[in-house]
Amino acid sequence: MLGFLAKRIALAIVTLFILSLIVFFAAQVLPGDPAREVLGPLAAKSAVQALDKQLGTNRPVIDQYGTWLGHIVTGNFGTSTQYQSAIGPILGKALVNSLKLAALAFVIVVPLGILGGVVAALRYGTRVDRVISVFGLSATVIPEVVSGIILIAVFGLWLNILPVQATGGSGFGGTIYHLILPAIPLVLILFGYIQQMARAGTIEALNSDYARTATLKGLPRRTVIWRHILRNSLLPTITVIASQTGYLIGGLVLVEELFRWNGIGSLLYNAATKKDFPMLEAGVLVIGAAYMIVTLLADVLYSLLNPRIRVAAVE
């Protein structure tokens, strides 16, 4: 187990390094320069040169990357060219905001998805199964913009029962109240994945020997479902939840844009458009790291819950 963990962590670090290289080289092809982004298009040429020098963005790109890498290794995210101040606190705040939204979406979608999956599996092949499955799969492909617009029009405008802006709530209850509408597009997308996985897991478990044996032994159906099937159907579900965390943390930009929420999505979007290279790199790395940590955790959890397939099945 330990060896497996060490190998996975080493691989993750290599991947993160490659990720930083990709972003770094991609960022070089962006037009414009950081100083002009700060000073505006009408700024004098001499001012732009002076600021580029001050920010260090006039140095050869390899130099800049080296400096940045040196900082990262010591845990320092460096300085944003756009805000001319340390990246850490700005990024931290945005990350916390995004996590709030993601957490709410998860709290709603995980029980719903598993319930939908189990119900569909128990009614396998019936109309109930088909309706839930078609709904789930369809919801998966509807862009957040689309569901968001429909939600705003219906709940914010016509029924006028939910706030259409994520910001503005104070306190725990107020924050959640304002985050309900923004969370729903995420819930819709995730529901299909989790429901499908839970359904597949349940069907497999229902057909398994031990479920059949348990039923033959005369255990009540409800007990069989709760004790055996649910636990086994949870396994693939955990994996899919983990793989979607990457999406949740990284793909929030649309929801954040639509519902005005200062999260990591809008921060990355601004960094890319403002050519704030240190901020962009830091943001992408944090998301990448989060994605890998969660995937790793899911794998560990998976093998702990299901000792039969430990480690071997993971890679």
């Binding site: 691989l11 290599v14 991947t15 993160l16 490659i18 990720l19 990709i22 972003v23 991609a26 960022a27 092809v29 962006l30 037009p31 078609v134 799969l137 369809s138 998966t140 492909v141 509807i142 862009p143 957040e144 913009v145 689309v146 569901s147 617009i149 429909i150 705003i152 029009a153 914010g156 405008l157 259409v164 997308i189 995730l190 994945y193 499908q196 996985m197 597949a200 899919v240 793989s243 979607q244 990457g246 999406y247 990284g250 793909g251 930009v253 649309l254 844009e257 639509l258 999505g265 990355l268 979007y269 890319a272 458009t273 962009l280 992408v284 998301i287 990448g288 994605y291 890998m292």
Partner: protein, 296 residues
């Protein structure tokens, strides 16, 4: 984005089942027997007809009328008018055109690149697989927005840019699926036989293995077209992509959605519904193809 993990393992083993004519007939029969397939096809067909002939029956999506802006739905304008007094019905109907051109082409690009990459990774394994595998993994950890923004900013907003960007986003995803399928084929007799005959690696990959992994690739393709629409809408909404004044669902939503709170909901809601129907239609089509492959 959410594109990363569509369950495809069910189709991975289907490769061998294809080819025989009676199987093909069985496949088609089970396809048309599914209501989801008929509904999905009808929706897709509707939008294809709209894309080609839309301006004939829906009117001119470009004609401005500055004296009649932001008007709600009425007999003259079923879906109302936008900020320049253009007919939203015409814009929604004709707006399918660019999406229907870009989505399949982008998916095709991603599928071709991903298949080639996946074949090499799965067949060569070893160092090549390790190195490329890491790069693929890194791309998968990269949020779609970042890839999209970098690509579009670098290449400028156009249909071609969207095709390339979406192709790049899809390549690692499809490569991963194809690699898995190829790994499953590796140990089968026909590959060993070809090796013994002394065939070149390229021949084995493209002439022997590829036909046998076509089924999962095709399923992957149909599913991805839906996500391509998803991605086009997302990028257009963020202001990257198609040029005005051409009617475009994502861009129109992006221009008009701030007006929802003013009460002008029709300027973005109908675009949203159009996108929803198209992606659901494609999805129904894709899932019924997948389950028909399963069944046959």
């Amino acid at each position: 984005m959410s594109i990363s993990s569509v369950p495809v393992e069910s189709s991975a083993a289907l490769g061998a089942a294809q080819g025989a004519p009676d199987l093909r007939r069985e496949f088609l029969r089970s396809l048309v027997r599914q209501p989801a397939f008929m509904v999905g096809s009808a929706i897709i067909l509707f939008w294809i007809i709209s894309a080609i002939f839309g301006s004939l029956f829906a009117g001119n999506p470009y004609a401005q009328n500055l004296l009649s802006i932001n008007k709600g739905p009425s007999g003259a304008h079923w879906f109302g008018t936008d900020q320049l007094g253009r007919d939203m019905f015409a814009r929604v109907i004709v707006g399918s055109r660019d999406v229907l051109i870009i989505a399949p082409l982008a998916t095709l690009l991603g599928t071709v690149c991903g298949t080639i990459l996946g074949l090499f990774m799965g067949y060569l394994r070893g160092l090549f697989d390790d190195v490329v595998g890491r790069i693929v993994e890194a791309f998968l950890a990269l949020p779609l927005v970042v890839t999209g923004i970098l690509g579009v900013i670098a290449l400028g907003g156009s249909n071609l840019t969207l095709i390339i960007v979406i192709g790049i986003v899809f390549t690692p995803l499809i490569a991963r699926t194809v690699r898995a399928a190829v790994l499953g084929e590796q140990d089968l007799d026909y590959v060993a036989a070809a090796r013994l005959r002394g065939e070149s690696s390229l021949y084995i990959m493209f002439a022997e293995i590829l036909p046998n992994v076509l089924a999962p690739i095709m399923v992957e393709f149909t599913v991805r077209v839906g996500y391509a629409v998803f991605t086009i809408v997302t990028l257009s909404f963020l202001g990257f992509g198609l040029q005005p004044p051409s009617p475009n669902w994502g861009a129109d939503i992006s221009t008009n959605y701030t007006l929802i709170t003013t009460g002008y909901w029709w300027e973005s809601l109908f675009d949203a519904l159009a996108i929803a129907t198209l992606v659901i239609g494609i999805n129904m089509f894709a899932t019924s193809v997948e389950s028909a492959l399963d069944a046959s």
